[in-house]
């Protein structure tokens, strides 16, 4: 159904692409930090794992600058391990700050997804007014 939408509406395609780019930007950091929460990753393996996530949609080569930025921000740290078969292998792991931030971000994202899910369950159409009211109340 989606393909057909792209085919019939160029404006729709542009809107969708813009949205996915924005979302990737936000989510990619979280994906990396989440992966590293579980432990140390070899860079190549991490990139492969990240591009394999459905919907991430980034090239392998574009992840390295991101990892470099996270390292400079002090969120991840790297170490090199000499390899007899090739270049030294670069391993990434979280710093304390990165770990804290990863926990915060994951929590926030989960809350957001849960909230979004709940939004879907309650349904805007079925309980739209009530929901809308309750949101207005919260904001005020």
């Amino acid at each position: 159904m989606q393909d057909s939408l792209f085919e019939v509406n160029d404006g729709f395609s542009e809107l969708y692409e813009n949205w996915t780019v924005q979302m990737r930007k936000g989510v990619l950091d979280l994906c990396i930090l989440t992966a590293l929460l579980r432990g140390e990753w070899y860079g190549y393996a991490l990139v492969k794992a990240l591009v394999a996530i459905p919907g991430v949609g980034v090239s392998e080569g574009s992840i390295y600058p991101l990892l470099s930025r996270l390292r400079k921000q002090g969120l991840v740290t790297t170490r090199l391990e000499e390899s007899t078969e090739g270049p030294a292998r670069k391993y990434y792991s979280l710093t304390d700050l990165g770990r804290k931030l990863a926990a915060e971000m994951t929590g926030h994202f989960q809350t957001m997804v849960k909230g979004m899910g709940a939004l879907g369950e309650s349904g805007f159409m079925s309980g739209g007014e009530e929901g809308a009211k309750s949101k207005t109340k919260k904001e005020s």
């Binding site: 190549y44 080569g61 574009s62 390295y64 090739g86 030294a88 670069k90």
Partner: protein, 861 residues
Amino acid sequence: MKKWTKQAEERLGEYLNARVERDGLEGEDARELREDLRAHVQEEAEVLCMDMIGVAELERLLLKMDGGVVEKWTPVIAESRRGRLYFFGVILPLAVTVFEMVSGFCAGVFFDPVPTFLHGVLLIAVPFLNGWLLTKGRAAGSRVQGIAAGLALAVSGFYGLLFLPLLPASIFAMVFFGLGLLSLSPILALVAVWRIAKRNRDGAVQPWRFRSGLKMGAGAVIALLLAMEGPGIWTRYQLSRANSDQKAVAESGVAMLRVFSSERTLLKACYEGNRGTTMATDISGWMGKGWKFPASMVGFNVWGEADSDKARDVFFRATGKPFNSLKPPKLSAGGLLGRGRGMDMDEFEFDDALGGDDVAIRLKDLDLAESRFDGHVDTASRLGYGEWTMVFANTSSQVKEARCQVRLPKDGKVSRLTLWVNGEPREAAFNSVSKVKAAYKSVAVVQRLDPVLVTMAGPDTVLVQCFPVPAHGEMKIRIGITSPLEGGCWVLPRVVERNFGIREGAENALWMQADAAFEFSGAEGLAGSMKDGEGFSANAVRDLGGDLDRLLAVRFEGLAEVPEKVWCEDQFAKEGERFLERRMEKTHRPAVGRLIVVIDGSASMKGAGRRLAWMFAELFPGKDIELIIADDGVRKTDTDGLASYRFSGGRDNEAALRAAVSRAKDGGNGAVVWLHGPQAVKLSAGEALLQLLERGTHRPDIYDVEMVPGPNRLSDQLGKEGFLKRGPTLFDPDPDLRKFLTGLLEGRDELSPVWRRAQAEEGLEGKRVWDQLARSWAMERSESQDVDRALIAAKYQLVTPVSGAVVLETMEQFKQHGLDPVDVSAAPSIPNIPEPSGAVLVLLAAIAGLLRRRRCGGAGA
């Protein structure tokens, strides 16, 4: 690990450069991204099924990695930046290196950056390596690139550091005078090499290989530089310690240099610095001199500039050799156009010993070009007379003074001195030392005209000074020497110290004649004498370099133990005493009570230690012989200790001699035998030893036995004061020394002359001989303590401790200084031997007369 084609490696490098440019990255960020992406591509390549990764496979991998967006490669560096790298990394270093090699500019002013061929290769390699890295090298393997970059970086880093102290001056000169690019160029080249290396590292396909190659290349150069400069740096450092005012540090420095030192560096230090011939130095010297001030700013203390005088002392103490016994070092490797930035493209030499009493530095471009020795020995009088003609050649554009110490035969004296002025021989004036020295200094050093001076320097040793040997010209002198035979041998004079070289291929023309048959001793290949008229003669043309300091003698066999009575007419004696008769008398010298043998601990005696130990142990067992090794101090020892002693460096013998004299004085009738090699520098004051010898009731004999020839300052000093007796000349060292020591220990007979003067020849006994006999009488008198000994020496034309000889250019100069030159007719000369005796002449005249009468008679008939 997969193999990559060169094209693929190059393509990857191009891609990575384009990629970081596309992302707008620079520096560390760019480097990191390159490494990450390269590692990624290589991981991807590893899972491919082919063995060789080519460009096609790589393109696929790049497409995959880049999500299908691979941009066409664009040059990483702008053309302007590339041009700068070419200029500072290739053109400038090449031009400056070639300029230095051709002109020797830096070598003549600061230091020689290209002292050896290898240094030149290293320097020339930098621009070529840089050029290669900027062009074809980019397609080469990463490791090869790394090695090339490492080589260039290490060489330019080393030279950049060497020139860094000149940076402020170079910048100043550039800003205000537009000069200084030469000294600045190594630093500019270092920056360029650094950027080129960085650029190639960033573009390398396998940066880890580039890095390892870089380490290899740099390591190889550092190891090479350490091998080339390490000994010099060590030597300079220890030399500075040896010159320390703190005694312990100084001794430690000398000890270290004895263990290991670069003789070349030590020798250079003798010729450079405050009193050397130049202010320029070598690389290790510059490391101290150039970096002294900058290092002191950050609290480090480097060795600084060499003190030439002290370096000469240390050279002897470390090596045991006189510094001027070696060919002078080339202070700059020079250039194709000349040597350094000196006068007329010459390396300027400053001779601070001009007109002084020391032979001092060996001068370049001053050579002994020709040599001729004519000698005559009269066995009846047991006297010999020789004339040594020397021609000095100066190939430089500075006038120079030739100086040398000549060791005369035992108890010999200089009895003639001639200088050729404009091709004409001029004879010397003999007078007191002070008078002839004053004349020489006035005429030679101040007026710069032609004189030659000969004075006594030590026992049987004279100092010959000739000045000026003209620029690109020659100076010819002749020294006549009268001396007695020593045990049936007549020893030829030899040079023990000199400030000139020997012209390559120069020969020594030797002519010896005598009234008896003789053989040569001390030189292989010299045939004995041949019958020549009534006498005997021999001649040879020999290599001058080999003969100059060789102990060469003429040996006569079958001479009577006690020579017959002889007499001569003495042309210098006053009326009524014109005839002089000599008879030799045997006197017995009793055995010494105690014999103290002082053995020089210097390296020059290395070969003698075991032999002497064996001799003392086996041949003189139970004898009262005390052995002292002179090792800067006093080392009393026995034969075992002597055999195992390690002779090294140049040792001060003064303390040991002092201890030996004290010991010999104790109990009386003691004697000291001093076996030594050269003592080329005056190591200690010597006054304490002189005081010991001057005071007290018993003055022990000190026998000076030269085991190894060379200059000896201590011997000179003691000899001048008359405290030294010359020991035997060691033609055959072991037997001669054994015989001498046996004589001392067991007593011996000595011959001493008894003289008689007469008004007329009637009543004189024995054979009439040449007038050298009269000089022999004067030589004996001049050694005595007579008040008129200086007058006698001058009258008989002898150079003694109180008299000298000088040749000046004109009669006015002689008159001006109160000197009378010797009349040629009164000067000694080589007799026209074989001279027919008077009887033979009468016989020949009679035969001629008879023949004539017979012819006349025949005609009349």
